[in-house]
Amino acid sequence: MRRRQFPPQSDLLVLLLVLGALVALFGLGTDGFLGKATLGSIANRIPALMLVSTGMTLLMVTGGIDLSVGSVLGLCGAAAGVLMVDDAWGLGPALAASIALGALVGSINGWISVKLRLPSFIVTLGMLEIARGLAFLATHSQTKYIGAAIESVGAPIAGWVVSPAFLIALGIVVLGQLLLSRTVFGRHLVAVGGNVEAAAISGVAVDPPRIWAHALLGGLTGLAAVFNCSRLGSADPNAGVGFELSVIAAVVVGGTSLRGGRGSVLKSLLGVLIVATLEAGLVQMGASEPVKRVVTGCVIVAAVLADTWRRRT
């Protein structure tokens, strides 16, 4: 008995349709939404979310999860801020340091989860608190103002609408998708997440892919932290509070399963766009903060339901 099967391309189309519908809805319902300025402002506010969603997709494919990304965002941003302001580092070295710090934290998360066989949910929950505390310690609980040195990354390029941050993030999204679908590493991620016992029997080393996925996510978070700082011209120790939920929401809306094995970086990007467009549109329509949260929450639940229903048929 063959069940009717939706081809995988159809999810991509569905996501595009939803995005298109949202854009059309808000475009008609408010003025100015379809303009370069609004779409540009959406594009420039999402690079951090794009980067971390890419990393989170790869990690969730292996069946892991990282709840500490918001705190790590704050911590790496704080580190970059402190280095640039107190130690007069340039943007380049500070960026490298932020990425390295993020990768280090990610590796720690990964190593503890994998080698000590603890659920990554719990381990990263602990790291969420640790990293946030460290961020506050590093900045003495104050916003550290950096100034023009960091702003160029997040500001729109003259003449274009989008910022360098957006373009870099887009490039990394593409690389992430290629990593997942076209490399041996990507295959191993899917194998470990889909059925770790079968993967082990098939000769796949099951620990390294998971640890690397954590580290990669951490590094991307470090990069995202600098992008985030450039929008404020400062390092805010409170940056990223609640960020992990936005990331997970975007990835889930994009169709990656929380149970591992299935995932697409590209679809997560669409998830990011949908969530960001939804928020921007709601603000444009004058919706209050509570209403925004209720609506966004409903969309996420609807996305998960749609995904589950589709799997059953």
């Binding site: 041996v184 059925n195 029997i201």
Partner: protein
């Protein structure tokens, strides 16, 4: 006549699963239903048991000369039909009594569970059928065969008159099969009718009053066992002439590749599970490993692959070099394993066939970590062809293939690593006869190519038919060694497995 099915037709979209099937069942009859996987047996059972309710199929079902319109499984159960599935439906956490009363729990005032009443009821039913089992035993501590008996008792406790058993002996050892068949015969004496679905024709011929063969969703014929024989039934099932069931064996034995000396292995709790195992496996031969459930066949194979157990003594070498201790390295050294539980250990059921085939040998179709899709696709296509894999496209999920094709995929994955030694654990379990033949052909092909094959199987005919030599395991040790396939008699093997007085045999 207790049950009559007339002109049943069931479609799923454009696929016709049953086409004008008619079937009847008398009271006190054991009626066997035979057919390959995909022949429609499961669908027929689902119709009869209410899984596909009235209205989703054409044709009618009559019970006791009245039309049965089951709207749900409950209706069917109320009409006296109970199904005992291959995947047993019990709750491990509860006791025997609680499982027997599941769904019909005795309760005071409607919701307060009456444990004593449940125990009494269970004890009474167990006694009625002569089963010596304490109702307070937790299900978890029972063996598969006993769990199955509890399933049957549960069905009988509901005053079922028609039992449908789906491959009941697949996971049982010889003596457990005996007990089950005896029980069914007793039930027959009490007027309970049975629909018995099985591939094991020896059992079917022993116990069935009538045999109905299904093929491609239609009834082929209904026969009395006395009027026919196994090969005729197989012919009806497969629809074509089959030559010898097992391929001819020519002696091809080469040098010893895998040598096991005095191997002793303990499990993670420190209990000794294998002891004193010594043998040599040669290129170009199939060494069969037989034994009852729990004898240690799977443990041996998994340990050789580095996937189970801690070695406490002995050596394992491949062409003189010690074999590594974990699967990835073992695979690289040229030993491949096809596991017993293919859905759990063998396949990624949600991923595509192509994904599964390539997984153990991605290095061969990639360069510097980057996959080469063209090379991968070609290699997979070639592999699928040589395996005669029946699938529309290799991008379809592996979980949707039939059991036989799934097994081919697992085998293909192992073979693509180019192994010199292949360890096979129950390679034809749960597979229909047509696919079995193909796997036998593949195994023979491996022999011819100079591979060394270690074949663990619980089906004696298969063991004798395929192996050049046989080791019979018993309680973690080797209970008997047998050379020269043709002269081996099943009774001798069984004796070695059980541990009766050993007959003289050569090493």
């Amino acid at each position: 006549m207790i049950l009559r099915a007339r002109h049943l037709t069931k479609r799923f979209g454009s696929v016709v699963a049953l086409s004008d099937v008619s079937f009847d069942l008398r009271a006190g009859e054991i009626h066997a239903l035979c057919g390959e996987n995909g022949a429609g047996k499961s669908t027929l059972i689902k119709l009869l048991s209410g899984v596909h309710p009235y209205g989703t199929y054409a044709g009618h079902i009559e019970i006791d000369a009245g039309e049965a319109r089951f709207r749900s499984v409950r209706d069917a159960a109320a009409a006296g039909i109970a199904v005992i599935y291959q995947e047993l439906a019990f709750v491990d956490e509860l006791t025997v009594a609680e499982n027997i009363c599941l769904g019909t729990e005795p309760a005071r005032w409607g919701f307060w569970l009456d444990r004593n009443q449940a125990q009494r009821r269970a004890a009474e039913v167990l006694a009625r059928f002569g089963i010596a089992l304490d109702p307070a035993t937790p299900m978890r501590s029972l063996g598969v065969a006993q769990k199955q008996l509890v399933e049957i008792v549960k069905a009988l406790a509901r005053d079922s008159r028609i039992l449908i058993l789906d491959e009941p002996t697949a996971a049982l050892a010889e003596h457990e099969v005996e007990r089950l068949l005896a029980m069914l015969e007793e039930l027959r004496g009490r007027g309970i009718a049975c629909i018995y679905i099985s591939h094991r024709l020896d059992e079917v011929f022993r116990i069935a009053d009538r045999i109905t063969v299904l093929r491609d969703g239609a009834t082929v014929c209904t026969l009395a066992p006395a009027a026919t024989d196994a090969s005729a039934v197989v012919r009806h099932m497969v629809g074509r002439e089959i030559g010898e069931l097992y391929p001819r064996k020519a002696r091809l034995r080469g040098p010893a590749l895998l040598e096991v000396e005095d191997l002793a292995v303990a499990d993670e709790r420190g209990r000794q599970r294998l002891g004193g195992i010594s043998f040599a496996l040669h290129a170009g031969e199939v060494l069969g490993v037989g034994g009852l459930m729990g004898a240690g066949r799977t443990e041996l194979l998994m340990h050789l692959y580095g996937a189970w157990g801690r070695r406490t003594a002995g050596r394992v070498t491949l062409s003189g070099r010690p074999v590594p201790g974990e699967p990835a390295s073992v695979l690289r050294s040229g030993i491949a394993l096809v596991t017993e539980d293919r859905r759990r250990f063998g396949l990624h059921v949600e991923e595509s066939i192509a994904f599964n085939l390539s997984l153990s040998s991605l290095g061969a179709v990639s360069r510097g970590g980057l996959l080469r899709p063209g090379a991968e696709q070609k290699r997979n296509a070639d592999c699928a062809r040589s395996l005669r894999l029946k699938a529309d496209k290799l991008s379809a999920p592996a979980g949707r293939l039939s059991g036989g094709n799934q097994q081919k995929v697992v085998l293909g994955k192992a073979l693509l690593t180019g192994p010199r030694v292949v360890l096979l654990d129950e390679p034809t379990r749960g597979i229909d006869i047509g696919a079995k033949l193909e796997i036998y052909r593949l195994i023979d092909g491996l022999r011819a190519d100079g591979c060394a094959v270690l074949l663990a199987t619980s089906e004696l005919p298969e063991l004798i038919g395929l192996s050049d030599r046989i080791l019979m395991m018993r309680d973690g040790a080797i209970g008997g060694r047998f050379e020269d396939g043709a002269a081996i008699r099943p009774e001798d093997l069984l004796r070695a497995a059980i541990g009766a007085a050993p007959r003289p045999g050569r090493l």
